[in-house]
């Protein structure tokens, strides 16, 4: 492990630059330091204008995602020492496929809109609201969606997804996993409503199942798995629509006759 390493950091300010460029900084490599510690070292001691987001430094707030040597990473959970072999450099860039506000800060307003499109709240039939007390849910029912509830909205999966790169309208892995988190929740009755907005080409069918989202997810959410489940459910719904006229089930047909 070298005791110093050169960081090449993407810099961009809309007030002075037409396009991003790289600046190099030499930083000490300490055993406990993550990439974020090195960025803080630069900001505190060398150049206070270096701009990036961070908060919790424990891999749960989702703020500090960046490209580190071309890979989407949480910089608070990426050790400097794992890059510090003789002569190596670390290249830090903003997360790919997002507009850049400044330096390493991306614009995630579009991502926030996509999250909302997934209708990520518990939906119940209107006449079935508990006024107090709790729903029952067994540990097995919890396990069916728990994994999809672990998303920290870090957007690494968008930076990894080639479909997002080609089609910015594609709703993307995290939002689809979030929709599936509620669809799979035994307390929820909103799957049909979510499917109506998500089962179209910008929704679940946009995914070509590359699986990069699942590979880069720091929380093992498996968005690719969620999307596959969603596709299967959507196909079953679509097939059912041939068997059963929309809005009427077999029971009501029998009743009418």
């Amino acid at each position: 492990m070298a005791d110093k390493i050169v960081m090449e950091i993407a810099r961009y300010s809309p007030e002075s630059d037409h396009e991003p460029h790289f600046e190099s900084y030499e930083v000490p490599v300490k055993r406990e330091w993550v990439v974020l510690d090195a960025l803080n070292h630069i900001k505190d001691n060398v150049d206070g204008s270096l701009t990036y987001r961070w908060s919790c430094r424990m891999g749960i707030c989702g703020s500090c995602g960046m490209m580190v040597n071309g890979e989407p990473k949480l910089t608070c959970a990426t050790f400097l020492s794992s890059y510090a072999r003789n002569g190596n450099k670390i290249r830090v860039e903003p997360l790919r496929y997002f507009p850049v506000i400044r330096d390493l800060v991306t614009e995630i307003g579009g991502f926030m809109e996509k999250l909302k499109k997934a209708k990520p709240w518990l939906m119940r039939a209107t006449n079935d609201q508990l006024s107090e007390g709790t729903y029952l849910q067994t540990p097995e029912q919890l396990d069916r969606y728990k994994q999809f509830s672990m998303c920290i909205n870090c957007t690494l999966c968008y930076a990894a997804c080639p479909v997002v790169g080609l089609d910015p309208v594609f709703i993307g892995p995290a939002a689809l996993a979030l929709a599936q988190r509620y669809n799979m929740d035994s307390r929820d009755q909103g799957a049909a409503e979510r499917t109506a907005t998500l089962a179209h080409p910008d929704g679940v069918w946009g995914c070509t199942f590359v699986g990069e989202c699942t590979r880069v997810c720091p929380k093992h959410v498996d968005p690719a798995g969620a999307i596959q489940q969603y596709k299967i459910a959507a196909v079953i719904d679509w097939l059912k629509s041939f068997v059963t006229p929309r809005g009427r089930d077999a029971g009501s047909l029998a009743g009418n006759d």
Binding site: P14, S55, L142, K146
Partner: protein, 613 residues
Amino acid sequence: MRVWRSCDALVAGRSPGVSVEASSHDVLLIGGGAAGLRAAIAAAEVNPKLNIAVVSKVYPMRSHTVSAEGGAAGVAKPDDSLDEHAYDTVSGGDWLSDQDAVEAFVAEAPQELAQLERWGCPWNREPDGHVAVRAFGGMKKMRTWFAADKTGFHMLHTLFQTTLKYQPISRYDEWFVTKLLVDDGVVHGVVAIELMSGRIQTILAKAVILCTGGCGRVFPFTTNANIKSGDGMALAFRAGAPLKDMEFVQYHPTGLPFTGILITEAARAEGGYMLNKDGYRYLQDYNLGKPELKPVLRCMELGPRDRLSQAFVHEEHKGRTTSTPYGPVVHLDLRHLGEKLINAKLPFVRELCQKYQNIDPVRELIPVRPVVHYMMGGVSTDIQGATPLQGLYAAGEVACVSLNGANRLGSNSLPECLVFGNRSGKAAAEFASSQEAANGVVLAQAVDEENRLKSEFLNKTGGRERIATIRTEMQTTVEQSAGIYREETSLREGLHRIMELQERYQDISLDDRSHTFNTELESALELGFMLDVAQSMVASAMHRTESRGAHQRTDFPMRNDEKFLAHSLLYRNFDGSARVEYSPVTITRWPPGERVYGQQTQHPDATAVQRVS
């Protein structure tokens, strides 16, 4: 590029001679963590016609609630009672809690946690489908609801996702509030900077609720996120609202060295042992009961946080801690719990140890030391969340109701955010509903604030001090003077040094003068807030010449109920100096008694005055 926000309510309120832009709302939340989002929903439900907005310096799901691990307390099982939860809270707080606040809290916490369940929070479950509860420090019964060891994360995301369906709630994401606008003792809104554009804007409101959380970053070693700079406390203090009980700072006994990452109390509730360098369960030497193989409620490792952190200091003085490059440590031993239980109940603990400490708690001891975790004090409010300034409310860690007294019990803070978020949201909504449209009498002040931001920071020439230098010196000073144990000389010296740092702060220089996402300007403003908070902590600690809960004076080692069964209230005088006043503690049913931990714990029925109704 323009930031997205749902901003139907934004109006360009330019008045003649006033350069600032203004928008206007009925209820304005400052902070989008658990308290802020719960308050926003409560306000929307009181009156769906109200126009509600949440201003946050981060996207709400980044708020520090996200880091809370262990759980949220609320009576849930037939063997438990509200009185027992109240007694644990009052005795845990060394009788400084206001008991009317405690009684309201314990009664409403279960309803609030159930409401979170109905909004989708993935609470852990019993095999029959009912919500599961776990033990927690200082609690005599199992009453802590949990979502594995990511309880805060799940609560925050559930709340945030639920707010998305409320049309009246709009957001100002990544806006930094620099000033409360007050006219004649009435709050009319704030001045804030939109980080993306650097635009300085006035946001008028009929009612403002501070939900900005704590101030752990005032210390060098803390579990708190980088954003926890006491903004709301300083904003309120500068606006003339008093800060209550600021001398009471909680050290959590188990933080990872170097990073300060929290290892949740749930690790001890599930059966973890605290060991000194000899492998000895040292807590048995500190009046916390005798070691048993299985965890015993209100005993040993399940004692309250103040007592455990103080025990660490004594172990250090006895030479029974282990030295590391990041200070002395003791060890938390989870090995006997086994991989299966650790994975099921403490997966985040294992992940954090592996990722940040490079150890596996299934096989290895976890090095830990006390770490600044929580601020019992804060903006003084009544039990509806109202501050003495009309139209200004506060809830969550930024506020001091006081529920937590001299020491908060683990797992009381998350439900505090819900109960008092709900209460303040309702109170603010009712107040706002009774008011005329927010008026612009304060727009001249807003212009002054914009000019201050430009002249003192963005357009300033000269300046020799770096932000990081002053911040580090402040942190070291506060730790040395107002750490786990305090005394007159070091407090006096600490206060003197903080005053010097306040002076030097006037001479800071920014490398970054641009408007776009200027995080250095943000850091400078946060440092200004932190210096005020640091000063208030040290000043309050100096005046309280007794030892109570988390405030331990080596020169005044006993609790003094005769003089200090009282809340300290720190006011800012017109000339910028501060004065301390005291107000009585509300005692309803539990007269001050001895804090007893270990097997001889008294039952609350033995000490409570029965309610006469």
